[in-house]
């Protein structure tokens, strides 16, 4: 059998059903691995070993009795520390909320528990899912398992580092400007930002109401589909929640890409924001692989990246300011420097600029929709560079905005980032696939075809 810590959720589920493995054995193994590795990774803010073992015992008993709830029954999951988990603190990695004990579970946590998943604990993030890797916060920043001197991406940093290093097979993250897909890109795993409104945000500390998405980080595309099947669904108490009936997101995983039309958004990484040569070469190789698998790849054009980025920043800073203004006024020193610097601009955005950005947003959405009428899915860059050193502040500041993820927070289209190779420095490079609204299944289909045709999902970081 594969080392227990590299089992995917699907593999663990099959082993539970075959009674060759029990949830308690798996959780105990992962707790031991966490004890060994997490001092180097800082993926966890708070490990809930007792809660995880209790849940594992319950799952073990139910599975032994043949009461299998589904493919996540008994599967350990890590949770970004902006999601409420009842009785545990939701700190948002900030001094401001360090004693903020959640009274109830977020809706996504409720759904995972109903599916029998086991919450392992709360994971490192950038402060309020925004700041950046910081050393002036109550907890240290997470580190990249491929090289612990390097940034694991963010803001769902612990989710990325933990899934990548085998501390748990799947994790929850949030994505407002790319925060699920960035750590997936930096850590060489799969990160899916579902269509806006597909997954409830209730019980997740907000950053920007019209840009926030909840999504899974996993080691395989199949596991992302399983997570989405569990998480998706209408929530009448989340005003952004969609009433769509979209379900069974893994139903197309085995179909391949023959006959699919893929729009390659080359200008993002060729001219708008020229990518690192190894990233650009990786994207060309993805295009070649998809063509070899039978897809028709054609070059398409969207509005420029700078346009999307400007819109994302005006909207995000305005909405975040409306949330943080009371604390920024009363105790600005309680924020880490990076979060403070990134939250304060919202104080200086006029109402006219905010509404103007929302009006321009609709035009950008229309432009992307026009292109998606002629192709089934988009292929484009995620990060323009491999990860940089965590302590290299100038390089972090240079590379952090060099990404093509924010456009799809602005538009709300489903978008998935995954590993597309290793750089000469031994760090992952990535690709992003984007689909039509609520057609997350086709995004996952293309990603699964690429995954099958390449070896990247079998690569693990040299961390033990």
């Amino acid at each position: 059998m594969t080392d227990l810590h590299w089992l995917t959720a699907s593999e663990a589920s099959r082993a539970f059903a075959a009674k060759t493995l029990s949830p308690v054995e798996l959780v105990q193994h992962l707790l031991k691995r966490t004890e060994q590795l997490d001092p180097k990774l800082n993926a966890y803010i708070r490990l809930d070993a007792d809660g995880a073992l209790d849940a594992a015992r319950t799952a073990e008993k139910e599975i032994a009795q043949g009461r299998i709830r589904g493919p996540l029954h008994g599967v350990p999951v890590g949770v970004k520390d902006i999601f409420d988990v009842a009785t545990l603190p939701t700190t948002c990695h900030s001094h401001i909320l360090v004693d903020n004990i959640a009274k109830t579970d977020a809706v996504s946590i409720q759904k995972l528990r109903q599916a029998g998943a086991i919450v392992m604990g709360k994971l490192s993030t950038h402060e309020f899912a925004l700041g950046g890797p910081s050393f002036d916060l109550p907890f240290p920043p997470a580190r990249n398992p491929w090289n612990t001197a390097y940034h694991p991406g963010g803001s769902s940093s612990g989710s990325g580092a933990g899934v990548c290093s085998g501390l748990f097979p799947v994790a929850l993250g949030s994505d407002t400007g790319g925060s699920v897909r960035n750590p997936a890109s930096a850590c060489g795993i799969v990160g899916h930002k579902p269509t806006y409104g597909l997954v409830s945000r209730r019980g997740v500390f907000p950053l920007s109401f019209t840009l926030d998405h909840v999504g899974p980080l996993t080691r395989t595309v199949a596991d992302a589909a399983i997570m989405l099947d569990t998480l998706a669904g209408h929530d009448p108490e989340d005003p952004g929640s969609s009433a769509t009936q979209a379900r069974h997101f893994g139903r197309l995983l085995d179909r391949g890409v023959r006959g699919l039309r893929v729009g390659f958004v080359r200008h993002f990484h060729e001219t708008d924001m020229p990518a690192h040569p190894e990233v650009a070469a990786g994207l060309e190789e993805v295009s070649r692989v998809l063509q070899a698998e039978g897809a028709e790849v054609r070059t398409v054009r969207l509005p420029a990246l700078d346009e999307f980025r400007g819109i994302n920043r005006v909207i995000l800073s305005s909405e975040a300011w409306s949330i943080h203004a009371p604390w920024l006024r009363d105790r600005p020193g309680k924020y880490g420097q990076l979060a403070r610097q990134r939250l304060l601009p919202g104080a200086f955005v006029s109402a006219g600029e905010y509404i103007g950005a929302q009006r321009r947003r609709l035009e950008l959405i229309a432009s992307v929709e026009d292109v998606l009428r002629d192709v089934d899915v988009l292929l484009c860059a995620s990060s323009m560079d491999p990860s940089c050193r965590l302590d290299d502040v100038p390089e972090t500041n240079r590379t952090y905005p060099r990404q093509a993820r924010a456009p799809f927070n602005v538009t709300g289209h489903p978008a998935l980032a995954m590993m597309a190779g290793l750089s000469s420095g031994g760090l992952p490079v990535s690709v992003q696939f984007v689909g039509r609204y609520f057609d997350d299944a086709t995004v996952l289909r293309v990603a699964a075809a690429y995954e099958r045709a390449t070896p990247w999902h079998t690569k693990h970081p040299p961390i033990g």
Binding site: S241, V314, L328, R331, P345, G356, R359
Partner: protein, 60 residues
């Protein structure tokens, strides 16, 4: 940015404490906000609607 204008804007936003304790952060934030808005091509069509639209009774 003119310092007196910056101070007036910060005070209007209730940021007296931040201005006193972190003047560089406040100044950088004001400049960042200007740069962000400057990057947006605001619609010229007066009928251009914002997203998300008002939808009576939906999401309640």
């Amino acid at each position: 940015m003119d310092q007196s204008l910056l101070a007036a804007m910060a005070k209007a936003a209730g940021l007296e404490k931040a201005l006193a304790e972190f003047p560089d952060d406040v100044a950088a934030a004001a400049q960042q906000a200007l740069d962000n808005a400057g990057a947006v091509k605001f619609p010229t069509d007066p009928r251009a609607e914002p997203w998300p639209p008002m939808r009576a009774g939906v999401g309640l």
